[in-house]
Symmetry: C2
Subunit: 487 residues, 2 copies
């Protein structure tokens, strides 16, 4: 975490512009914000249309066409906003939606906007109060899959651009858009696309709106993200499901073999992950712990939010630390044998699990992946075959708090929300942040408008209407504020 001295120094980067120009920008800003406010209902209607498209990237057989529809609609919304050179960039998977507006002049900074138009699967469907893909306004919230993650936030970015272009006919900065459709399935074609379009994507900073605020009315900038590696584990035992009476006792039941192996990955007493080298280069500084104590959720708040009576995890760290600054291992799914009503006395032929690890800055995702596969395979009982397939890989990342664009975002949020933002360490993953650092050599401002309670990957996902509108204003103001900085 950047020191306060660093932050103070960063303010010195702000350009001293002539007073008349400053006034002119301020007047233009007023018009832009007025435009946003006047179009709130219209924006919401268009967002609802966008949310109705079930662009579930994890289910290509069922939703491949919906992914295409979502990309097309995104492109046409960008064109309507005044974005130029809008194009669906082909990848081996889902298209990336590119666009730009580059008439702010060579001295103005260039901001790359990244987001994603794909969404998580909606299952289990019966837990939704209203259908996942029929957006519903209830208690000031937009209920729909993708509302907060990430279609609502992407839409706020576009509407911010539109507000500038429709009122002043220009933007104070150059912008480029790069919206992908595979974020929820590990962005498997993204790194290659960024590498391939490296020149076209050249920029000074990236802006992503796919993170959460500190609270309903407390804006935030996220400075730390966890990476993600995700695996499918397939265990094969006997050549057919077997009668557990006839055969039980003779062989390692694939369910039993899977349970025994997975139980070895984490120490049930200490909560430590036992994969060799897992904690190499994982460092949590006293300064980070102190900052997190201020911005993070208390143990009581965590318990209340999740509706559980006790927290559990890695010994020696608080709940907030374990969800942000510490890596984890989770069993996201497990399935084998009979799942129907009543009893079936079967030993299944197969058993499966989906497991993932959240990694922090410093951890080598490639090395940990190798160590995990090697470690896990040795934990199985005899007589079963095990296949481990990697489904995604992304590194963790940290962004310097004293970056001038971060400070521009802080001012924009203060203007839009009337209060200073918090600086957050986030437990989730936006692996592209590490890629942008590596390939384009630029940092990313993570200015998001979601909430941790908004069920991003669960039934009844929602996005607060007020933050959708304030977010649109904040992005619009960010363009003006970042124009004042030397990047």
């Amino acid at each position: 975490m950047a020191s306060m001295a660093g932050v103070a120094a960063a303010v010195g980067n702000q350009l001293k512009r002539p007073a008349r120009l400053q006034r002119s920008i301020a007047m233009a800003d007023d018009a832009v914000i007025s435009y946003v406010k006047a179009h709130e209902q219209e924006n919401l209607t268009e967002l609802f249309e966008f949310l109705r498209i079930p662009s579930v990237s994890a289910q290509p057989a069922k939703h491949g066409k919906d992914i295409e529809r979502a990309a097309s609609m995104l492109a046409s919304m960008m064109r309507s906003a005044g974005v130029e050179n809008v194009e669906l960039v082909k990848t081996p998977g889902n298209a990336i939606v590119y666009g730009d507006w580059l008439h702010a002049g060579p001295n103005a900074p260039t901001v790359l906007l990244y987001g994603h138009y794909d969404v998580q699967p909606p299952e289990p469907l019966d837990l939704w109060t209203t259908p996942a893909f029929e957006p519903t306004l209830r208690d000031g919230r937009i209920y729909a899959r993708g509302s907060t993650d990430d279609k609502g936030q992407v839409h706020a970015q576009i509407k911010a651009i539109e507000a500038h272009l429709k009122t002043t006919g220009k933007l104070p900065i150059n912008v480029k858009f790069f919206y992908e459709g595979e974020e929820e399935v590990g962005s498997k074609n993204l790194d290659e696309a960024i590498e391939a379009h490296k020149q076209r994507l050249a920029c000074d900073v990236v802006l992503i709106s796919d993170t959460a605020q500190k609270g309903e009315n407390d804006p935030a900038i996220t400075y730390s993200l966890r990476g993600l590696i995700y695996f499918q584990v397939d265990v094969t035992g006997p050549n057919s499901d077997l009668h557990s009476g006839t055969w039980g006792g003779a062989l390692a039941n694939p369910n039993e073999a899977l349970v025994q192996a997975l139980a070895k990955v984490k120490d049930a007493k200490t909560g430590k992950v036992k994969i060799p080298g897992f904690y190499d280069n994982v460092k949590v500084t006293p300064a980070e712990r102190a900052a997190l104590k201020k911005s993070g959720m208390s143990e009581a708040a965590l318990k209340k939010a999740m509706g559980i009576t006790a927290l559990w995890g890695e010994k020696g760290y608080t709940g907030s630390e374990r969800t942000t600054l510490r890596p984890t291992f989770e069993i996201n799914g497990i399935y084998g044998g009979y799942q129907g009503d009543g009893a079936k006395t079967v030993i299944p032929s197969h058993a499966h699990a989906k497991v993932s690890m959240r990694l922090v800055a410093g951890q080598d995702a490639s090395k940990i992946q190798k160590n995990f596969v090697k470690f896990l395979k040795t934990q199985f009982l005899p007589g079963v075959d095990v296949k481990v397939t990697q489904l995604s890989q992304g590194y963790g990342a940290k962004v310097p708090l004293d970056h001038p664009a971060v400070q521009a975002a802080a001012r924009a949020l203060q203007q839009a929300y009337g209060k200073k933002p918090y600086y957050l360490a986030e437990g989730g993953s936006i692996p592209v942040v590490a890629t942008f650092q590596k390939v384009l050599g630029v940092d990313t401002v993570l200015m998001g408008f979601g909430g941790h309670d908004e069920n991003a990957h669960a039934p009844n996902e929602f996005f607060r209407v007020a933050n959708y509108h304030r977010g649109t204003q904040a992005v619009a103001r960010f363009f003006s504020e970042v124009a004042k900085e030397r990047l």
Copy 2:
């Protein structure tokens, strides 16, 4: 296992009847067997009709009506065969089909026939070569759910009765029928029904045809059965599915909690079940081990049959011993979190397992049930709620080998198959055997015609046509043979 001296002594029980009566019985038997042989095609056609009814007791919402249809059809087949007083006996669950024929005189023995008309769920459907409820004759096998377990064997019993009554107009013994419709869901109303109808069910011995032969052409009598206790385990964690990035690390994931707890039930090194008192009164004698070495499958045969490269289980016992004379713990089903295509980064709100134990004669099912629930509940990580529901309970049982009815069955099998039967210890459960011993005070002859390879609880269940026909003959001959014994 009864000693050979005991078996020899048992032969002495056979009644010395006048030679003329002996000849008359023999001539009648020839007519009965000729009748069975002449009606093979007709019997098969009727059995197919019976198998078409998807009487899946584990899925009452879907198949409740089919259960009723199967009971009705069974009753009318019994009536057509000449059985009297046929009646659907109501229970709080599925009806029991009762019937009798009691005109053999007070000195003739009374045999109670038990079987079940309900079947296992057919899932997973896509693994069936031909539909589960469209019986198909292929390679001398009847492929259908319920063909071998137990509709085909029940049908053989009825056709054996019919052969006697249609040729001689009488039976050499008195018979009573007691066919239930909840065997595959733990016979939860059976014990109470037997208790309630204790007087009506009074008999000298029970005959059950729901076990396997030693081999395709090797008949067998089963003398040892395992009991079964079956549980549903439901784990509840957070109040909603959670994003594993946002919340991962703070809480015990229900999947993880379930895996850690289940892993503690069995020792991964020794294969021993760690529930306190689990092995109390479990005894395997050197004589039993020696007998099993002769009749049981070899390690190589077990591996080949299951298609696995290595056996695994309780240290110190052979594969055959572990599947018959030793108790086991199995995870029959496990499920929690995401199971679809690709990746979903979720921490589920719930996780579930279906687990069961096979118990041997001597083990106290009630005590083990209590100990298991108590033991399991203490193995869970903090912050999750655990509910353990017992779905069925049955004790293991052994039947004396020197019982005269067992010896009558041995002669009947030798006549039908042309060779002496093996005496088998069976890994599966027919808990009613223990109930008959307890409530009616009688032993049970387990003379079954199935095969261990016939996928009783798996896709592509089948029953060998030749054994269906020979089984019908063996039951018909058993009635004549048991009539010669003092019971």
